[in-house]
Symmetry: C2
Subunit: 459 residues, 2 copies
Amino acid sequence: MRLSTSAVFCLLGLLPCDRVIDAAPPPKANVIVIFADDLGYGDLGCYGSPTIRTPHLDRMAAEGLRFTDFYSASEVCTPSRAALLTGRYPIRSGMCGNRRVLFPSSKGGLPPEEITIAEALRDQGYATAHVGKWHLGIHEGSRPLDQGFQHSFGLPYSNDMDARSDLPRGATGSPNPPQDGWNVPLIRDGKIVEQPADQTTLTKRYTKEAVQFIRQQKDGSFFLYFAHTFPHVPMFASPAFKGKSRAGIYGDAVEELDWSVGQVLDALRTEGIADRTLVVFTSDNGPWLIMGDQGGSAGLLRDGKGSTWEGGMRVPGIAWMPGRIKPSVTSQRAGTLDLLPSALAIAGAPLPDKVPLDGVDLAPLLFAAQPLVERPYFYYRGDQIFACRLGEWKAHFKTQTGYGQPQAETHDPPLLFHLGRDASEKRNVAAAHADVLAEIQQAVKLHQSTIVPGVPQLQ
Amino acid sequence: MRLSTSAVFCLLGLLPCDRVIDAAPPPKANVIVIFADDLGYGDLGCYGSPTIRTPHLDRMAAEGLRFTDFYSASEVCTPSRAALLTGRYPIRSGMCGNRRVLFPSSKGGLPPEEITIAEALRDQGYATAHVGKWHLGIHEGSRPLDQGFQHSFGLPYSNDMDARSDLPRGATGSPNPPQDGWNVPLIRDGKIVEQPADQTTLTKRYTKEAVQFIRQQKDGSFFLYFAHTFPHVPMFASPAFKGKSRAGIYGDAVEELDWSVGQVLDALRTEGIADRTLVVFTSDNGPWLIMGDQGGSAGLLRDGKGSTWEGGMRVPGIAWMPGRIKPSVTSQRAGTLDLLPSALAIAGAPLPDKVPLDGVDLAPLLFAAQPLVERPYFYYRGDQIFACRLGEWKAHFKTQTGYGQPQAETHDPPLLFHLGRDASEKRNVAAAHADVLAEIQQAVKLHQSTIVPGVPQLQ
C-alpha cells in the first residue's frame, strides 16, 4: 500500500488531521538543512573515514536515515546551492555556465523570480533564517533577504574569494594573524559587520547564531538553512579543534563542523522539538582533491569536486527526526533537488505553480520507508549533461576530471557502469548493454525537451 | 594508571581472583576468531560500503570496538594465516617466499614446532575447533589436528585450487551444476567427506558446525577459529542470498558471511555466554582487485591483495564482548599478530618460551581503553620488508601492485606518507622528513637483527 504524503503526515501527527478540532493546530514541522562545503563522500566516520572523528554525525546517522546514494545537483558550489533552494537543475535558473561559479565581480545571481524553499515556507508562516555561506549573488534581488530569508548571517561567497593581494597570503592556519590575505566580509542582514572575517571562529559563531534562532522560534515553525563555510579552502579551525584530529587541518575543520551539528541537534532535544524538526545534513559537492592536505576524500568513489564521476556529486546525506524517521540505511537514490518538494510537503505548502521541478517529495521514504519512484538523474557540468543515472546504471557521454584535465573527453558510444557491482566506476560494460544505453539516451532526450534554459547568470 | 592485564581481568571477572576461594573458578573466557578471505577494507557497511548490506557486522561493530587501523600480517593468504595462529611474522616460521602461498603440490606446511593459539589454549583445558579454510599445509605435522585443534571441518586450501581440467570450469555461480570444474575437497577431522565440495552451501554448513560447537562447549572454555572460504573466488552464495545484493555475486557472498556472523553472535547470546566470549572479526588480506565483479573494495585505501600499499593489508577489524568491551571506535594500530598474545592472556596461559613474538596483548585496549605501546609495523611481501609504519608515518622501500606489476620498484630514498593526513597514500613527503625516515630505517634494522628465518615452506 502506498500512502499519500498528507495521509502519512496525518498518521504521524505532522499535519493536523481534520478530526482534531478542539485544539489549536500543532505547529507544522520545522525544517533545517545543514550544508557542508566540499565535504567528500568518505569524510565522515559513518561513511568510512578512518581518520576523521565525527561522533555527532555518526549518532545522527544511527538515529536517522543514512543515504548511500545521495546527490548534490552540481559538481561545484553556486549551481549546487541554487538547485537545493529551488528544487531545479541549475540550467533552468541560469545559475550555471562556463565560469562554473559566481565571483565577486559577477553581475548575475539567483533570479528574483525563482521560488526558494525560504519563500515558500515564509508564505506558510514559517520563520526563515540563513546562516553561513551564500554564494548565490550579491546584487539586489539575489541576496538572502531578497530570496525569502528573514534573517541572514554569513559570507557572501567562498572564503577564498576577495583575497587582497596587497596583504600577505600566509599559510592557511598560520596563527599570526590567521586570516592573512583573505579578505572575505562577514555580513548580517545585508550589512558588513567584519572584514576580513576572522575565519578561525566562523564555525563557532555560525553555530551560536543557528542555536539562538532555534531557541527563539521553538514555539512556532521555522526553516533554517545552515550552509557552513568549511571544509572549503582556506581551512581554519578554532583553537579548541586546531591540531586535534589525525587528519591535519582538514580533519580539524570537519571535526569542528561535526561539533556544530551536535550543538544544533542538542538544542532541538533540549527545547523538546526534535520530534517535529526534520534535519537534513549534506554537502554541496565532492572533495576538492587537488588541495592536498586541505582536500577531503570521496572514499571508494572516483574523482571529486568539479567532475561528474561519482566522487564529484555523490555526497553524505543524513535525514533525522527522532521518533518520526526510523533508524535505517537506504540505497534509494535521492538528493538536494528533492529537498524543496519535501520541505513544502511537510509544511503543507502548495508546489510552485507552472514551474518545472526536478525533485520528488521524500516524505514517503523518510516517514513510511516507502520506495521512491524510479527516475533518471542527470549529472550536469555547467550547462551540459555529462552523464545520466537510471537505476543502477550510469552512462557517461563526456568525462573530465575535477580540476586539471583541460578539456572534456567525449564518449561515443557512452561509457556505462553498474554502480551496484562497480561503485568505483572502473569497468565500462557498454558493449554488453546497448539496450540500457538506448533507454538512458531516451531519458536524456525526454529531459532535454523540458528544458528552457534560464538567462545565464555566471558571466 | 596502567593496569596489568591480569589485574584488569581480575577486576572484570575474566580471571579468577585469589580471594575467590569458596567457589569453583568460573570458566575462562572463550575466544572466537572469524576470519574472512579476501574481504576488503571497504566491503562492510560500517566501513563505508555503499552497496553491501552487513547489518550483523554493523551491529557487532556498534556494540564492540571497531578498529580503523587493523592489519593482517601479510598481503596474501597462507602467510597471513600462519601469522595469525602463531603471533609471528611469517618469515620466522618459513611460511612465506617467492611462491606466495601453499599449493596442493607444495611439500611444506606450518612446522610442527610452531606454537599456535589452539595448542596454547588446548593446554589450558580449552576445547578447540577449526571451521573453514585451512591453507597451512596438508601433510603430517601441519594439519589442523596436528596444530592443536581437536575438531576440524573445512577445506584444505583455497576454493580455486585443485580445479580439474577434465571438468568444464563453467561460470562461477552457474547453477548447472554450480561447482563445475572446481574440485576442492571438504574434510572433517582429516578425512575427505565430499569432493568436489558443494560450494553453494559451504557458508551455511560452516555456520551450522560453528554454532553446534559453541552449544556443545558452552559450559566450558573454548577456542573457535572460523576461517570462511568466501569472499575468495570462485564466488558462491546459497539460494537464499544469491542475486539478492546490489553488488552482484560478490555482495551476495559477503551478505551471507554477514548472516553467518549474526548466527554465531546470536548463539552466544542465546546460550548466555556472550559476556565471556571474545569475538574478533577480520580478514586475511585486502580485496583481490583484478577479479572484477568478483573482487571487493579497499574503500579509500590504495591497491589491494598482494600489495603492501594499505589496501593490501589494512582490513576490517572488530572486537566484541558485550558488557566487557565498551562500544567505541579506535584508531590504535593493531592486527592479527596481536591475537595470540591477547588470547593467551585471556586464558591465563603463559607466552611461548624462548619464541620471539611480534604481537602485543590487546587486553588493556579492549577491556580498559588503554592505549597500546607505540611500536613499528612491518609490511612483508614474501620474505622481504617492503614498507614500515611508525606512528602515522609509513615508508615504502619497495612497491608493487597487487597482481600485474611484474617487478617491484625500489625507492631510494624511500617513499614517505602520513597515514592520518593522507590515508590514500597519494602524497610522498619524504623530502621534508629525513628525520622520520631515519627513525623508520633504524626500526627496520633493529627488527631485522631479531629475525632468524624459518626453513622456507612455500616451495
